[in-house]
Symmetry: C2
Subunit: 194 residues, 2 copies
């Protein structure tokens, strides 16, 4: 029973990603998602309160990769923590794969809907705090030169977002996994005390 | 007559930005744009071949700010060229203003339409080439340490895109003009030969 419920949930999620990517969030209705997934509306509402609730679950699932990497890097010295978090990037790039439209739908919904906006902006603010603290720790423990932690954290997040967006726009334009890995190395090397 | 034609064109453009941002590119028809602008369909097609043609003009207009800054920085030593191009950023941030939905519409259209995709990806590739050459020049003229020009150029573009996206998502989250200026300074300082 538990297993069947999990299967239904994952059917709903993959159908929703397909429809949101293809038609957009507004054009895809709960009815469309149920039809695509081959399930009843009752089953849908057993798993999700609303289309928006489902949408926010997609965002959460995606952020979990980054959160797990951050959690695993806890208690490591700052330079190692960066390298370890960077290991999550190839996975992020791979799962993002054909996901550009879905991604843009998140941001577009965020720009049009207060609840989605809150849910989308909160992680950036959280990651900014996290990286600021991590860089500060690196400076305090003597691994890093005296960079501006706030600004450097902002640049790290910007680089990550920019690389992701470019990789989605132009998958053939570069070896993105390698570019991401090399970028983190360059950023960390730039901070390391020689 | 010339002046009236210019006025019509700018009415079409501002109506289109409003409608594309509010409803999305697909949902806003040429009829809607004409009604919003208070002009005839004949006047529309005098200025633009199609809705897509208008859309691509919006993209071009926006890129012109960056292109002009690049053109003006020609023949300057690399560190000065960077600083000068960075001067265009506050303007970009200001004009982007409420433009997030429009921006995302560009990327979303690009992911769904080959012609828009070509037009959207081409500038990134072009800027990547430009910054790669500029950094290489800086290394050759002895201003910069021996960084990897390709990778560093990629990071500069990523940082710019990421900052722009964050500033649009979260206008109150930071003093973005200052963050952009400080980021360029930090990137250039990181490359400068001490």
């Amino acid at each position: 029973m538990q297993q069947r419920s999990e299967e239904t949930r994952s059917k709903i999620i993959s159908s929703a990603i397909r429809l949101f990517s293809g038609r957009g969030f507004n054009a895809a209705s709960v009815d469309d998602i149920c039809a695509e997934a081959g399930i009843s509306k009752g089953a849908f509402y057993h798993h999700f309160k609303s289309k928006q609730d489902l949408f926010l679950s997609l965002l959460d699932g995606w952020l979990k990769t980054i959160d797990n990497a951050i959690e695993a890097a806890k208690d490591k010295p700052a330079p190692e923590a960066f390298t370890q978090i960077a290991e999550a990037f190839p996975y992020i790039f791979k799962t993002a794969g054909e996901g550009l439209p879905m991604f843009l739908e998140f941001w577009l919904q965020a720009s049009r809907d207060e609840t989605v906006w809150q849910a989308s902006v909160e992680p950036y603010r959280r990651y900014h705090k996290y990286f600021t603290a991590l860089i500060k720790k690196g400076v305090d423990e003597g691994s890093f030169v005296a960079v501006n932690p706030e600004l450097t954290a902002r640049m790290i997040i910007s680089t990550g977002m920019g690389l992701l967006l470019q990789s989605l726009m132009d998958p053939q334009g570069a070896k993105w996994e390698k570019v991401a890995r090399d970028s983190v190395k360059m950023l960390v090397d730039g901070m390391l005390k020689k």
